[in-house]
């Protein structure tokens, strides 16, 4: 007898412009099971789930809920089908209470009977083992409390399919354990649960089956009981792809940057870097790997003078032998010391460039102050823009076109070109090839290699392990704000990095033996 699946997707495709986020994905969830969706950053997990929750609409393919084909065009449609999604970024109203957020947008009696609602919520939380005060305001809550509100909100609406997008990314181990207990209770109550994650130990601990996506494609589904951390990593990262990147041996390596025990907090007060220490050398490319949000952004921004540092120090060793402590300096101070730190941030149009300005104006973003004139000199930036357009084959109608109108690859060439043009001693790049086509990607790799050969200390945050392995000399692995280790890129393997990124502690292998039995 064939069991009817709670959710079944057939050949679902979603494109954003030229990028295919999901390529003909097939996927199913059984009733009363916990299914993990596993994949690297950019593998299309969240996009897929957003099509179930009505945020996106698929370009092609069919969706079946409980055996019936449906069309989900809005979050409302999704609710009506009993699907509830807990987004990574909570959709809660800060000034309202938990209970008010939970009943938001629901039909019912015209006036609010909050006492009754509180009772209902308390009943629900008792049933599944949540810890929640319905009359607490959201702005007074910790992240895990907010998450609880989101889950209760979905349950209160009678959802029997729950989707959780990276629920443990923001939780402490204790909170994670509590969440898993609750999820198991929900499973017992017959709910179907989808949990998006890239933490292998959690997958193994919690789920019944695992679906793996890679680069927008469906790779396969396995029963957790038959899987191990190694087999899952292999599915997730895939075969090692050999890239033709010309990597030379590092030469003339000198210490340039030394980070000592840096701790930073984000705006919510959470620690995003935890006593991070490392050194970067001239003439080499240091890769930084980690799952999204492990502190990569803060690491680079701390060096660039854009991050408030709680403790620790960062030293800069100049080629002339002098040493500067740059951890208590702002970006402007660092520049005034004539320390050439170049930085290609992740947010290209929101930080590195000004979208509405043309190429010329963007060239002078970091150098416009040079000279004593009241007016800016646009001759030099214009020449620079022209030479970048020519050298890097930037496709643009002209240097007076707003960069917003350029394609992603060309935007990145402009940004990287500018940063390199300032003759840096340290070059930091975050996700340099994200969203770029193959040719543009290779242009960027070559540029980074060129810089390395010129004796620049290159620090490169990346998400594609194949690239990091073939491009970098050493790879630093970040795991929830900690430096999990620094590996030799020529000797390590994808699996080794993958495990270091995803497991709880450094002793990933030990952990695997325990859970894998």
């Amino acid at each position: 007898m064939e069991q009817i699946n709670a959710i079944e997707l057939k050949n679902v495709t979603k494109r954003f412009g030229e990028v295919i986020a999901n390529d003909s994905v097939n996927f199913s969830v059984r009733k009363g099971e916990i299914l993990s969706v596993l994949g690297e950053n950019g593998s299309g997990k969240t996009t897929l789930m957003n099509m179930l929750s009505g945020i996106y609409f698929p370009d092609e393919g069919q969706i079946f809920i409980n055996g019936n084909e449906v069309m989900i065009r809005s979050p409302k449609d999704s609710f009506a089908l009993g699907i509830g999604m807990i987004h990574q970024h909570f959709k809660l109203i800060d000034i309202l209470t938990a209970a008010e957020n939970i009943i938001l947008g629901l039909q019912g009696s015209k006036t609010l009977k909050m006492n009754q609602v509180h009772e209902e919520i308390n009943k629900l939380t008792a049933e599944y083992g949540f810890d929640l005060n319905p009359s607490q305001k959201i702005y007074n809550m910790s992240v895990s409390q907010k998450q609880t509100v989101e889950i209760v909100k979905v349950l209160y609406r009678g959802a029997d399919i729950l989707i959780l997008d990276e629920p443990t990314a923001v939780l402490t181990p204790q909170e994670t354990k509590k969440l898993f207990d609750v999820l198991r209770n929900m499973k017992k109550a017959g709910k179907s649960i989808i949990i998006i994650t890239h933490k292998l130990n959690e997958v193994l601990e919690l789920s019944d089956r695992v679906t793996v996506l890679r680069k927008g494609k469906y790779i396969g589904t396995v029963n957790t009981a038959e899987a191990t951390a190694d087999s899952l990593t292999e599915m997730m990262v895939g075969e090692k792809v050999k890239l033709d990147i010309d990597r030379t041996e590092p030469s003339n390596t000198e210490k340039r940057i030394e980070m000592r025990g840096i701790t930073c907090r984000n705006r919510e007060g959470l620690k995003v870097l935890k006593e991070a220490s490392f050194q970067a050398y001239s003439g080499e490319i240091l890769g930084i790997a980690g799952i999204a949000g492990s502190g990569q952004k803060e690491l680079l921004e701390a060096i660039a003078g854009l991050q408030t540092i709680e403790s620790g120090e960062i030293l800069y060793y100049a080629p002339d032998g002098s040493t500067n402590k740059i951890s208590d300096m702002k970006a402007t101070d660092i520049r005034e010391l004539k320390i050439h730190l170049s930085f290609v941030p992740e947010d290209r149009l929101g930080m590195g460039l000004v979208g509405s300005m043309d190429l010329t104006d963007n060239m002078m973003l970091r150098s416009y102050k040079e000279g004593k004139h009241f007016f800016v000199d646009r001759k030099k930036p214009k020449n620079l823009a022209n030479s970048i357009v020519e050298k890097l084959d930037v496709i643009t109608p002209g240097v007076d076109t707003p960069v917003r109108h350029l394609s992603g690859g060309n935007v990145q060439k402009v940004l990287v070109g500018r940063e390199i043009a300032s003759n840096p001693t340290v070059l930091m790049v975050a996700y340099p090839v994200r969203g770029l086509d193959i040719n543009s990607s290779y242009t960027i790799y070559n540029l980074l290699n060129e810089q390395k050969e010129k004796g620049v200390a290159v620090i490169c945050v990346g998400e594609d392990l194949d690239v990091l392995l073939d491009l970098c000399d050493r790879i630093l692995v970040l795991n929830s704000g900690r430096v999990a280790g620094v590996l030799d890129a020529r000797k390590t393997t994808k699996e080794e990095i993958g495990l270091m990124m995803t497991s709880d502690r450094k002793g990933a292998h030990k952990h695997e033996q325990r859970s894998g039995k």
Binding site: L306, M351, V354, M357, L365, H373, R378
Partner: protein, 368 residues
């Protein structure tokens, strides 16, 4: 909500255009202007029962038909233009300065004070110079206040500048008490009517040439400042993204305060042009809502100086013209505000069709 109900929604898609050719954009604006003129014509015809062409001929005659009317239209255009120019740096920084009214009044009051107290103390050219400086300072102060609080406490600048308009108005009425002329009239009357001290002098035999010169110089200066100075560059970056500004090493607080001082200063100068160069008196209606209209002018022109000149001229033309036809047909002159309002609604509304594409998309499948 049931599934059926959800499916009944028309699948209307609005997508942001990547870019639009200049010609197409202007064609859309042209259509909007024509539609608004047709609507205005219908309203005027309903009120006057006259042939709409007659009415529009009347408008043209009213705006530029006589030499005197032409120069009044020019003068008013210049006033609107300089206020819009003054607002430009603030708006470019995404700072909602809706306090131009107050800044103009402060500048105007400072001007009147100089004319009254120093009318006989110095030669006219020096007096005018003093007037320009003091009026700019007065406007600057009125721009500085909200900027400081915005920079340090992130106080809502829209509401702050709005309130300052009315504080400025009370300062004007306060001063009127002392400057009243004749006594008991509760107005200031024409200041230095006999000596013409502190008045703009005729150039080439025309009364308003100096107004034009000053406004055009300021327009050019602000254009150069915004386009070619380092400070102007900083303003553009701050307005676009504070994140980028920090990345570029820009002191955001400093830029906010400095820019608002410039913006307020120019609006203060506009006050002196109104008082010294046109009305020669001061009252609470010296700004007369132009501080608000100029916001719309600056915003619609996307801060392009030529566009600002054209939009200002168009609005003033229609206003002056409709004041004329109003008196011709025995209507009252507030008709011009209604006309301005309608023109603005259409011009504001048409921007949507420049920025967005509207598509109808039929749903592929219905749920059974």
């Amino acid at each position: 909500m049931s599934k059926e109900a959800a499916n009944k929604e028309v699948f209307l898609r609005m997508t942001k255009r990547d870019s639009i050719s200049k010609r197409k954009a202007w064609a859309i604006r042209g259509i909007a202007v024509v539609l608004s003129l047709i609507l205005c014509a219908l309203i005027i015809v309903a009120l006057t029962n006259d042939n709409p062409f007659q009415v529009y001929l009347g408008i043209i005659d009213g705006a530029v038909g006589r030499k005197r009317r032409f120069w009044v239209t020019v003068r008013e255009t210049m006033v609107l233009l300089i206020i819009a120019v003054g607002l430009t740096p603030a708006f470019k920084m995404r700072f909602w300065n809706i306090g131009a009214e107050g800044q103009i009044l402060m500048g105007g009051t400072a001007t009147a004070a100089m004319m009254i107290y120093f009318g006989n103390a110095m030669p006219n050219w020096l007096l005018l110079l003093v007037i320009f400086i003091v009026s700019s300072l007065a406007g600057m102060l009125w721009g500085l206040l909200p900027a400081v609080f915005k920079a340090y406490y992130n106080t809502n600048e829209t509401l702050f500048t709005l309130m300052l308009n009315y504080v400025a108005m009370q300062i004007v009425t306060f001063c009127i008490v002392f400057w009243e002329n004749p006594a008991g009239s509760n107005t200031v009357g024409i200041i230095n009517g006999a000596t013409r001290k502190g008045w703009f002098r005729n150039i080439f035999g025309q009364q308003y040439v100096l107004n034009v010169i000053i406004v055009l110089i300021m327009t050019l200066a602000v254009y150069l400042y915004m386009k070619h100075s380092k400070q102007g560059y900083e303003i553009a970056v701050v307005g676009e993204s504070q994140n980028t500004a920090k990345y570029a090493g820009i002191n955001v607080k400093k830029v906010i305060i400095r820019t608002m001082m410039i913006s307020g200063g120019i609006c203060g100068l506009a006050g002196s042009i109104i008082v010294s160069g046109a009305s020669h008196t001061i009252s609470t209606s010296t700004a007369g809502g132009r501080g608000f209209t100029a916001i719309i002018v600056a915003w619609m022109s996307k801060f392009n100086p030529v566009a600002m000149l054209l939009v200002s001229a168009f609005l003033v033309f229609m206003q002056q013209g409709s004041i004329q036809i109003a008196s011709q047909y025995g209507l009252n002159e507030n008709a011009s505000d209604i006309i301005t309002g309608i023109l603005l609604f259409f011009l504001i509304g048409c921007e949507f069709f420049i920025n967005y594409k509207v598509e109808f998309r039929k749903s592929k499948k219905e749920v059974q």
